[in-house]
């Protein structure tokens, strides 16, 4: 059965990004990591304003410039060309990390190699002897931003769980992750344990448990109190 490629249930990368954006409140100051987190900027919900910070010195980062209008002095933390929105501000690295470490940024969305049951994050090194260690701003972001949300595929390309009881890769921060968005589910890092609050369409709790390397609490009802609904 496993050799038959079923149409994949769950969220695509774009759908994960859109799902994250729905949870960001109007007016939030947000730092987006490199890779999948960058997609979140494409899904700002109607009627909300988010201000994106990039740690290399820009508050009010806009979308990628039109081809031919790139400016090598206007880039994001991934060193890709970006634009600045009206109302943007430039600043030096000292001020940038004053925003980050000083608790002035509301949400940081980051990728992950592993997240543990207690919210430890590993996303900077495999620990391989031959790897060139490079950390960038990740350790400062997880230490200082008010909410740390991880976006990730639920498993590695080989199908190994990325959500585990203890990280085996070197840590970026201990107990820093608040919420995880994967292709299968939304999971809160709660004091009582990892709590699934939402499943992607077509995904079952059993499947999520099977692909997770640690205990999960089914908290779906808890998070969805009988919301006022027009269609009864």
């Amino acid at each position: 059965m496993s050799e038959l490629k079923k149409p994949t249930a769950g969220w695509s990368r774009q759908e994960i990004a859109r799902r994250v954006a729905l949870d960001i409140p109007d007016g939030a100051y947000v730092n987006l990591g490199i890779g999948m987190p960058e997609l979140v900027a494409h899904y700002v919900p109607e009627g909300r304003e988010f201000i994106f910070q990039t740690e290399n010195g820009l508050l009010g980062m806009g979308p990628a410039p039109a081809p031919g209008t790139e400016d090598p002095e206007l880039i994001n933390a991934g060193k890709k060309p970006v634009t600045a929105i009206p109302g943007a501000a430039y600043f030096h690295h000292g001020d940038s990390f004053t925003m980050i470490r000083g608790g002035h940024i509301d949400i940081c969305v980051l990728g992950a190699m592993q997240v543990s049951a207690s919210g430890d994050l590993a996303n900077w090194s495999t620990g391989d002897a031959d790897a060139i260690p490079a950390v960038g701003g990740a350790m400062d972001l997880v230490a200082g931003v008010k909410s740390i949300w991880v976006v990730s595929q639920h498993t590695t390309k080989k199908g190994e769980p990325k959500i585990v009881s203890e990280c085996t890769f070197p840590l970026t921060g201990k107990g820093v992750v608040d919420r995880i968005y994967t292709n299968l589910a939304v999971i809160d890092v709660a004091p009582e344990g990892l709590t699934v609050t939402e499943l992607a369409p077509g995904v079952t709790m059993e499947e999520v448990r099977e692909k997770t390397g640690t205990q999960l609490i089914d908290g779906r009802e808890a998070r969805e109190p009988a919301a006022p609904s027009s269609k009864q």
Partner: protein, 236 residues
């Protein structure tokens, strides 16, 4: 009369001795003082400790300085990026030392050094490999690591505009480490695209006050690192 302008990049870096500690501005190519770095390659000082966020790309700029065997140690947060060839090769061969510092800690160490603060406590890197060997202390029930301020003999920085007093303005995200590095070096050497008369910069818009700048080099048309890399240029 105060005039901090040097005749050339070569003259500006000519006094840098072997073994000097040098802060080099830039985040990737944005703000990297490529003409000053090339002048330092020509000058040839060796055994340098370089403090810079990255390690350069291709075989120009900072990567050329490293490839030329002039750098004994890098202090940086992200030594590998797309097109970074030179540093990884030398690092794997054990020919260059690396002190890896989280980016915000690097910035704050430079800021503190420039502000006369010898050490401070930060929450970044607590509980990680980068905390090993560092003094830690708890404040209000939360753990922090002690980090030392950084100072340097020289800073090489790129700015957009200057007057002869050394007042500086920068361009967009090319500002990055420039302002704090100018405060933390004994001798800050700045290459500027535009040199204006004193009074030509609105005092409200000065980002780096001239007191932090010792030498200026006018480079009206700086090379663009990514273009040189694409063209396969190898400096010198």
């Amino acid at each position: 009369m105060i005039d901090k302008q040097a005749a050339s990049a070569a003259e500006a870096v000519s006094g840098i001795p072997d073994g000097a500690t040098i802060m080099i501005g830039g985040f990737g190519e944005a703000g990297s003082p490529i003409e000053l770095i090339h002048a330092l390659v020509d000058h040839g000082a060796r055994g340098l400790t370089v403090i810079s966020n990255n390690t350069g790309s291709g075989r120009v700029g900072l990567a050329a300085l490293i490839a030329n065997g002039q750098v004994a140690k890098m202090v940086c947060s992200y030594p590998r990026s797309a097109n970074s060839l030179v540093f990884p090769e030398l690092f794997r061969a054990g020919k260059i030392e690396l002190e890896l510092v989280p980016q915000g800690t690097l910035a704050e160490r430079i800021r503190a050094g420039g502000a006369g603060i010898p050490a401070f406590y930060t929450p970044a890197a607590v509980g990680t490999l980068l905390a090993e060997g560092k003094e830690s202390r708890s404040f209000d029930g939360k753990e922090y690591l002690m980090e030392h301020g950084l100072r340097a003999d020289y800073a090489l920085v790129r700015a957009e505009q200057a007057d002869r007093y050394g007042n500086l303005r920068y361009s967009k995200t090319a500002r990055n480490f420039g302002p704090i590095m100018c405060t933390a070096a004994e001798t800050s050497i700045v290459q500027v695209r535009d040199l204006v008369e004193v009074g030509g910069i609105d005092p409200e818009c000065v980002v780096t006050p001239g007191i932090f700048v010792e030498r200026l080099v006018h480079v009206p048309e700086p090379a663009q690192e990514s273009v040189l890399v694409k063209e396969g240029v190898c400096y010198p």
